[in-house]
Amino acid sequence: MKQFLIFVRKEFAHVLRDRKTLLILFGLPVVLIIIFGFALTNEIKNTKIIIVDYAKDLATQKLINKIESSPYFELEKSIRSHQEIEAAFREGKIKLAVVFPANFNTDLAHLHQAQLQIIADASDPNTANTLTNYLTMIVLDYQAELMQANQVPYRIIPETRMLYNPQLKGAPNFVPGVMALVLMLVCVMMTSISIVKEKELGTMEILLVSPFRPILVILAKAVPYLLLSLLNVITILLLSVFVLGLPIKGSILLLFAESTLFIITSLALGLLISVRTESQQTAMLISLMGMLLPTILFSGFMFPIENMPLPLQLISNVVPSKWYYQIVKAVMIKGLGFSAIWQETLILAGITIFLILVSLKNFKIRLA
């Protein structure tokens, strides 16, 4: 045990003396949170739109006022005929056009039903989709007001609710994603590099010749990164609560327990990489390409997995960050308990055990 502590102390000395590593360790989460939180927002604000109003009645006026007062839209101009719409789109100034037909109010009053046309610039489908949704929400909102005022009991009010994220904020999605990303990066890359470094320096040989057990070498290397990663989790959570104003709805204890599990998964991955590689550069490349990229692509935090073709969906199942991402989302944003995430936890634990077994087996083969 004393030997183990001496080893852990040595590992801490390595980490704490390497300024660059420290900068990555603690700068990365802060930078990512700020980039994703403020710069890379997928909320679309102040989109320029044009409105063609053939009706010019009370109803359309109210609706236009509502649209104008929304933070998402900014009225570029009102035009008279829809021929001008295409020209405006071509200029690229506007992203959305709304057309009210001539008899909008009459239809609404008599048929209890009116139509309006939304034209979006779908060259960027995601933006178009989002904008259309925003506008539909505004129309539905107006419709709801109308219903209440007129007390028409037989009308079915279409109710759309944005669950968990009513303001459609971007933050809830990316905080768990950033957590997965940072933990993956710190644990996988740092562990694999630190073990491979010992191989390169030749110190690994000395350690293997010493009576210090190889398995303890691995464990002692994992300890500092486990602690530092937990510190990273705390940093990210503090930033998300106090800087982004995103509260943690579920149990913090559960969140930390699950994070610890994911950290162990990542450490095991790092171990596997280090067992199979001989140079720090290779270890770094594999960690970046093999681990970071799948985390970004397949965890569901950047690109929805549901939209992927089946083979890619299947691949995403073996990416540990996907499960961790879902767990963090469930606990942090939806406030769910362990009963809701036990399956994901079980899968993650399974992957972890598999990785540990495979890397230990490889480790032993190398020794023989």
Binding site: I6, K10, A13
Partner: protein, 248 residues
Amino acid sequence: MIPAKSIICKNLTKQFGDFMAVNHISFEVNPGEIFGFLGANGAGKTTAMRMLCGLSIPTSGEAMVAGFDVFKQTEKIKKNIGYMSQKFSLYEDLTVLENIRFYGGIYGLTNQQLKDKTEELIQQLGMQTEAKKLVGSLPLGWKQKLSFSVAVLHQPKVVFLDEPTGGVDPITRRQFWDLIYDAANAGVTIFVTTHYMDEAEYCNRISIMVDGAIQALDTPHNLKQKYAATSMDEVFYQLARGAKRAAD
């Protein structure tokens, strides 16, 4: 009970598939002896050394190191041997003192032992002013001497040195050999591989490996006589020229 011999090898063999890396080698090394283990690259030196250090299990044969069996008692062997490779094996981002404490620590030295040993070692190497400097800032020769001292810190019975003087100047090499002699005089068995034939002359006895087998084993003096050579260089060339394996 400690046997009279530090290392005993009988028909030690390591086979990787069809490849006989080490082919039935037999030799004995006495306590306090400096035993030179020579051979061209790819001759099987490293594999043989790894087996003796308990890092690799032999395919067949017998071997005892410091009185322990390489098949069954590798843990005990590890406690009784020291090892130094050509890469110096010190942590450059730790100070001299920290390196000493770390290596002493993983060999299970007590705090008191560590303290005494550290003082003694710093004194012996004359590194009082450098003790708190990072190893990375030291000149190569110092690193190497420190590396050797660290390898014998836990007072092993046998020390394995794998090309310990690669890449250093002749003066530093000479000083390094002084350290080796000191250790040998104190009763430590030295098992050393080298490519420098002048260093081979410093050994009590040397063995020359060719294609996985030991071709010659004697004192440098006797070997030179036997092969009618004026230097160890010539002896080595005569033997190694017949090698069929390509150097790796």
